[in-house]
């Protein structure tokens, strides 16, 4: 997709005025953090597991070339193929040529953020393939032509009736008067439509949460079971994974999985965790004839150098999004590209360049919640500061807007900050608020436009905010 990260401020303003989005974000703020807290409370070893997970990833990253070579050797041994790709264009071409060679017409996809990163759907569609997302959230946003708004819950920004409208438009052959007010009805409709797509697909593309060097296995986690159908029914299975996904052993994968779901959705483990190793074996009654792994660099090896290396530990759990006051205020689309929230603010400049993404590292209160909940203990605020320093070195003109945006972010995030922020942040807010209104803050004007932002005044502020003053 084309990034709109450079218009973060405008994106954010739009988001703040979007009532449906704000309601969805409220639901998110009530759901994920509490569930994660419960899951962690049930597992006394959670912090020890985090330490172990960090150590595994640090060791792997330090020996990344060696583990990748071993992974490749094992995939070949199991009868699979490995395709190395330096960048998005190479990965797109590789996947298209696998599909062409297989004379494929129809492709099913499991959710893959790397797939979003390289915009694989558009490329395959432009070349005449019929591609369908099979994760319910991804399917919905594919029908709407939108990017995901959350790395694990891509349609989190939508309401039930928006989904119903989307289905009515997309599923034109179904009776127009059918009732679609209940979530259950929407689910059943998607189930039926997608079932026939699963059965008719020539190629299945999935992502991977991990790659295992010891066995040449790819690990894919879902709750829906769509990945299992995608990697079992078509003739050809393609796994698309970036190089930092590798871990050494089966035990190491188990350690990572013990922290992943708990951090992500607050489940002890996801419903389906599939370890795929090579194609169908002699005697098997099902499974693909061809197993391909597309190993993508696309900026990862560059991140190995210096300040951002620790970001390669990220397991894409989404906890930092779920606990971020800025994300909670503006949602994922405002970030303008594939990855959002704190991890997106670190990754996006690394992957698409600092210039188009320079506002993202600035859209942070540096409150530290992300680092606190990150299962991989990634020092996100330190990395955001690194990016800010880099933009500063490029030209001091950014300072004003930077400060303005920081203030704006405080205000924008107010209702959620109320729930989450530390005393220090609250005190700072109170100090900033001494004049009652924020419009006087000269630097904030770029973000607030012509209207005043009411200063935080506890419930009064939240109430007026919710009553729709921002409409």
């Amino acid at each position: 997709m084309d990034a709109t990260s450079h218009t973060f401020s405008a994106n954010a303003r739009t988001a703040l005025a979007d009532v449906k989005l704000q309601r969805a974000l409220d639901r998110l703020a009530e759901g994920f953090p509490a569930r994660r807290r419960d899951a962690v409370a049930r597992l006394p070893e959670f912090d020890a597991l985090r330490d172990a997970a960090v150590a595994i990833k640090d060791h792997t990253i330090l020996n990344l070339d060696r583990y990748l070579e071993r992974f490749e050797a094992k995939v070949l041994e199991a009868g699979g193929r490995v395709h190395w790709c330096r960048d998005a264009a190479e990965a797109r071409a590789t996947i298209l040529s696998i599909c062409t060679r297989a004379k494929a017409k129809s492709v099913t996809k499991g959710k893959t953020m790397v797939g979003e990163e390289i915009a694989i759907n558009d490329h395959l569609a432009a070349n005449g393939l019929d591609v369908v997302e099979t994760d319910l959230g991804e399917y919905i946003i594919q029908l709407r032509g939108e990017p995901p708004s959350h790395i694990i819950a891509p349609a989190i920004h939508l309401s039930k009736d928006q989904v119903a409208d989307t289905f009515r438009k997309a599923h034109g052959t179904l009776p127009p008067a059918r009732p679609l007010t209940e979530s259950r009805a929407l689910l059943e409709e998607a189930r039926t439509v997608l079932r026939s797509r699963f059965l008719g697909a020539d190629v299945g593309i999935t992502g991977a949460n991990f790659l295992i060097a010891e066995t040449g296995s790819t690990v894919t986690v879902t709750n829906e079971g769509n990945a299992e159908l995608t990697m079992t029914l078509p003739r050809v299975h393609i796994v698309l994974a970036s190089i930092e996904k590798v871990v050494p052993t089966l035990e190491d994968a188990a350690t990572m999985l013990r922290v992943l779901a708990r951090s992500a959705t607050g489940q002890d483990v996801s419903v389906y965790t599939s370890f795929a190793t090579g194609p169908r074996r002699p005697g098997d009654l099902d499974g693909p004839e061809e197993f391909n792994v597309v190993l993508l660099d696309n900026g990862r090896s560059a991140m190995l150098e210096g300040e951002l290396r620790e970001m390669l530990r990220c397991i894409r759990c989404g906890a930092c999004l779920n606990h971020c006051p800025v994300y909670a205020a503006v949602g994922g689309h405002a970030y303008g590209w594939v990855y959002s929230g704190p991890m997106g603010a670190v990754l996006t400049p690394a992957l698409i360049g600092l210039d188009p993404a320079k506002h993202l590292p600035e859209a942070s209160t540096l409150c530290g919640r992300c680092e606190e909940v990150c299962p991989m203990r990634i020092p996100i605020p330190k990395m955001l500061r690194h990016w800010r320093e880099r933009s500063w070195q490029r030209g001091p003109s950014a300072t004003r807007s930077r400060f303005g945006l920081a203030v704006w972010a405080f205000v924008a995030a107010r209702p959620r900050l109320y729930r989450w922020a530390t005393g220090a942040v609250a005190a700072l807010l109170a100090r900033l608020a001494t004049r009652g209104r924020f419009a006087w803050l000269p630097f904030a004007s770029a973000w607030t436009g012509t209207r005043d932002f009411p200063a935080p005044e506890g419930r009064g502020f939240v109430a007026s905010w919710n009553r729709g003053e921002r409409r």
């Binding site: 172990a52 070339d65 994760d135 079971g225 996801s270 190995l304």
Partner: protein
Amino acid sequence: MSVARAAVLSSVRRALGARPSASGVEARLTEPPPGVIPARGRNDSVAMFLEGAARVGTTVDRAASAAEVPARIAAYLAERNLSTAIKLAPDPDLRDLPWAEAQLQTREGRGEDHDTVSVVQAFAAVAETGTLVMISGAESPTTLNCLPDTHIVVVHSRDLVGAYDDAWARLRARGALPRLVTWITGPSRTADIEQEILVGIHGPRRLHVVMIDDGQA
């Protein structure tokens, strides 16, 4: 794309700079160090498995012997008014059980779109999270786990282990990994519409386990 392969590996090496040559890579791969195993995974307790299963909506029944399995399954299906036509995994352990006596009609094979109930044996069950370990193979086609509405899994209590790691040890002892190993913890579900948790999006709407008590051997 061997040009790309060389380029990716060399940029990784360049970025990492000089490192000790071995760094414990071989040792880790040949002698995988144990992970941090949570207390709840440190014994193969049925109670822990049941707790995990209940949390995610997996129903569990017990059978005193393998011969009792068809009757237990028939009771489960009758209670819920479900079809008595079963797609059975081509598994010698299951084949000769008294299905007809329990008024169940069985066919063997892989899962197909129109199958409503499947019965498959698990490779193992993991107490840690109430998880079933399913493996692909001639005797346990993957499609039986992911197409039918009702997924019934038979597991011996001797195959109940404490932690994921114990299941890995058993799989390693068996040889190279099968094409697909799937940990299944509950029926298919989604929270993609307004975060409401709904069961049965793609695969099974129901996951039912019949655990055969093997007694203290």
